[in-house]
Amino acid sequence: MAQTQQQQKLCFVSVGATAEFPALINTALSADFLSALQSQGYTELLVQYGEDGKDAFDGLMKQAQSGVESSGLKVSGFALDKAGLGRYMRRAKGGSKTMLPGVVVCHAGSGTILDALRTAVPTIVVPNSALLDNHQAELAEALSEQQYVIHGKLDNLGHALQEAEKLRQRQKEWPPVNAGMQRQGKGLKGILDEEMGFLD
C-alpha cells in the first residue's frame, strides 16, 4: 500500500532571528489561516519563531489547539537553526516523491528573502509594521511589483495563499539573469578593477 501514502505539503513560516514578530505567528495560527491551508491541500505548518519566542509560541499553540485539531494539520515550531533556513525552504519547495510544492511565509528581512529567492519557492513576504524605520515594506512592495514574491498583509494571508499557487506557475530565476542594462554591466568586479587601476 506504499504508493497510496499521502504526499505532504508544507507551509514554512519564518519570523527571523532577532526581530520579534508575534503578530505573524498569531495570524499563522489563526483559525482562518489554518482552514485556508487545509482547503489548499496543505498537510503541515512549520513555524520558525526566533530567539526567546518559545513561550509566546507555546501559548498561542494552546489557544489554537481546537483549530489545529479540526484542520488536521501537523503544526510544529522551532527557535532558530544555526545551519540556516535553506533546508526548510527546500522542503517547502517540494517537488519530490514525498513532498508536494508548498509555500514560504516570512518577515521582510533581506537575508530570509534572499534565501527564499535562491530556493525558488513561492514566497509570501509580510513586513513587520511595528518596526520604526519601515524600509522593509518598501522592499516587499518592490519585489512584488516585479513578481518575485507576494506582498502579504496580516489581514489577508489566506488570500495570499491562493496568489502563491499562481506565482508557482511563473516562478522567476534568481539572481536575475543578465538582461537589458545589466548585460553590459561591469559588475562589482569592474568597479574594483577601476579603483585599483588595473589596466588589462
Binding site: S110, Q136, M181, L188, F198
Partner: protein
C-alpha cells in the same frame, strides 16, 4: 595688542580654507591619482584589499556579493580572488560568526582562483604571487545593539583608534608611487564596505590618515573606498549611506529607485547580491 585679533582671524580663515581645499580637491575627489600598476599579479606591486563585515545582514550581503563575483560565469564580471595579494577582513569584537564566514569564503575562493589559473596555464612562477594571504582582525564594537545613544560617541572613538592602528598595520618604506618590496604588505589599496557602523568609522578614519598623509597613504594613492548600499534599501539610503555618500570614491546602490531619488555620483549596476 590691537593687531592680535585680526591676526588670529586671518590665520583661522587661512587654515579653514586650507583644510577645505585639501578635503574638497585632494582627498574627496574621486579622480585623484591612482597608483600605477603593471598587471594584476606583479610581485613588485603587492595589492591589499580590506573588507569590513558587520553583524547579521551586512555580513550576509557582503559575502553573497563576493561569492557571486568569484563564481560568475561571465569572464568580464568574474572576480579572481588571488588578484589581491593580501586580504584583511575586519569584524567586530565577539562576532565569531562573521569571522567564521570570512574564513569559509577564503577557503572557497582562493583555491577556486588557483585552480582556474592552473587550468588556464596562467601561472608563471617568477611573476605570480600565488594564492596570497589573508587575516581576520577584530575591532571594538562601535555600538552595542541596545547601547544608549549617549555613550556611543565614546565607544566610536575607541573603534576609531583601533581602525587607525589597523590601517597602518602594514606599511612599507617605499619609493614614490610604488608599493614596497616584492612580497611585502602595504596599507590597503581598497576598502570595501557595505553599511555597518564599524565600516563608516573605518572610512572616516582612512580619510583622516589621508588628510595628514600618514606614511604617504595619500600621495601613494592608497585607501580608495567603495561603498555598496544594502539591497534592502529600495527608495531611501541607510544612515551609513547618507554619511558616506559624499566621501567615498564609489557609491553603489542595488535599486534604480534609490539612484533616481539620490542622484549625484550614485551608481546602479543591477542587483549585486544573490
Amino acid at each position: 595688542m590691537a593687531i592680535i585679533l585680526p591676526l588670529l582671524v586671518t590665520i583661522t580663515a587661512l587654515l579653514a580654507a586650507g583644510i577645505y581645499y585639501r578635503l574638497a580637491f585632494v582627498l574627496l575627489d574621486p579622480k585623484r591619482n591612482k597608483p600605477l600598476r603593471h598587471g594584476r599579479r606583479n610581485p613588485n606591486e603587492p595589492t591589499h584589499l580590506m573588507i569590513v563585515l558587520g553583524s547579521g545582514g551586512h555580513t550576509t550581503e557582503m559575502l553573497s556579493m563576493l561569492t557571486r563575483c568569484v563564481q560568475e560565469s561571465d569572464p568580464a564580471q568574474k572576480l579572481h580572488w588571488n588578484d589581491y595579494h593580501h586580504r584583511t577582513w575586519v569584524v567586530s569584537e565577539g562576532d565569531n560568526l562573521s569571522a567564521a564566514r570570512a574564513k569559509e569564503f577564503e577557503e572557497m575562493a582562493s583555491p577556486l582562483s588557483t585552480q582556474e589559473d592552473l587550468m588556464a596555464g596562467k601561472v608563471r612562477k617568477a611573476t605570480d604571487i600565488g594564492p596570497g594571504t589573508y587575516e581576520v582582525v577584530t575591532v571594538p564594537r562601535a555600538r552595542e545593539i541596545h547601547q544608549p545613544l549617549l555613550t556611543s560617541p565614546l565607544s566610536s572613538l575607541t573603534t576609531m583608534r583601533a581602525c587607525w592602528d589597523l590601517l597602518q598595520k602594514h606599511t612599507t618604506k617605499t619609493r614614490e608611487g610604488h608599493g614596497g618590496q616584492a612580497g611585502e604588505k602595504d596599507a590597503p589599496d581598497l576598502i570595501l564596505v557595505n553599511g555597518p557602523a564599524t565600516a563608516t568609522i573605518m572610512v572616516f578614519t582612512s580619510i583622516l590618515l589621508r588628510f595628514f598623509d600618514v606614511k604617504g597613504v595619500s600621495t601613494r594613492g592608497k585607501m580608495r573606498t567603495v561603498y555598496v548600499e544594502s539591497w534592502a534599501r529600495v527608495k531611501r539610503l541607510s544612515l551609513s549611506g547618507k554619511l558616506l555618500r559624499r566621501v567615498v570614491d564609489r557609491f553603489l546602490v542595488q535599486w534604480p529607485q534609490v539612484k533616481r531619488e539620490v542622484g549625484g555620483r550614485v551608481e546602479y549596476l543591477g542587483v549585486l547580491v544573490q
